[in-house]
């Protein structure tokens, strides 16, 4: 699974690609080492609106991974209501996936980085909102 992600792009299945590497998680971390106190984050009306405005275009209005872009992506958007998977990810991992994009946590590049769009409090509250959607916590 991971291997296919590594050899394919996001919108297609070509093999050919140039030898340019995206920033590694390590590099991205060095650029911005702060991870705030995520447990303190609250889910507000604003969090839900942010999710609907930005995330729902891929993850779907209810977070089921069925947004309007979903069927055009080589790797489907994560279903945020699936506890079995999300239990295996820590809040920090979810935070980083949102802030730095899918590639930064070894996931598909189809998941964009939101770190220049949303501030850390907003991202931390989105992590908590996803915890609400899956009704789960990190194991």
């Amino acid at each position: 699974m991971l291997l296919t992600i590594l050899v394919t792009g996001c919108g297609e299945n070509e093999q050919a690609r140039p030898a340019i590497k995206p920033p590694t998680q390590q590099e991205v971390k060095q650029a911005s080492p702060l991870v705030p106190q995520q447990k303190l984050a609250q889910v507000t009306e604003n969090t839900r609106q942010t999710y609907q405005w930005y995330c729902a275009q891929c993850h779907g209005m209810k977070g089921k991974g069925d947004g309007i872009n979903a069927k055009f992506l080589t790797v489907p958007p994560r279903n945020h209501t699936k506890a079995e998977y999300l239990e295996t990810r820590t809040d920090e991992q979810l935070f980083e996936a949102i802030k730095f994009g899918g590639l930064s946590v070894g996931r598909a590049p189809c998941m964009p980085a939101w770190g220049h769009t949303l501030n850390e409090d907003a991202i931390a509250s989105l992590v908590q909102y996803i915890r609400e959607l899956c009704q789960c916590e990190a194991l």
């Binding site: 996001c10 140039p18 405005w53 872009n69 590639l103 189809c110 998941m111 980085a113 220049h116």
Partner: protein
Amino acid sequence: MKNLAIFIFSGFFFLPSTLANAGVLKDKNCGSCHRLNATEKSFTGPDLHYAGSKFQPEWLSAFLKRGEVIRPAGFITDPGFLKGPSENRPPHPSFPEEEAHALTEELMSLKIPRQTSVTSEPLSKGQRAKIKYQFERTFSCISCHQSLNLAGKVRGGISGPSLVNAGNRLQADWVADWLNTPETYTSKGRMPRYKMDPATLIQFARFVMMLKKENIK
């Protein structure tokens, strides 16, 4: 003659030039959906108050003659946007040659200052491959925008405007400015913000300008 009339009219009433320009656009009620003036607050279609800085006139004319779907899922504020493309979406109003021409002329006069200047020189093969890779992976553009793959096939998500014909539709400088300072053009889009270094920014604009529908295979 018409220009003369507008000139006299605007001079007489001391109207700001943007308002004085609202001739055919006003007649055709384009402002009922589009923002034609920075002071307007509500609109249900793409912002056109900087149309003269964004579009190529040949494309505008052709679009106004027979319409074309640019945003497969509709405009970002449509109530049904997140529900996906709707079968019964009304086609865009279209116009005979002469009117399309007059509308285009007026749209092209709606300009705002630009910040970046992008060469019209196409990217080299290597640069193009590099940016294509970033388009798909580093910046995930393809997740929301349709574009063309190396085999000339349409690929990509549909929540953003299609870029399949962007090289005929947009101005290169505008593409760079949009990526650099989207807040100049929209108070709130659904696209993530990027911080690209100036060289990458310009290469992205040049890459987008190489996407043309003639290249669909």
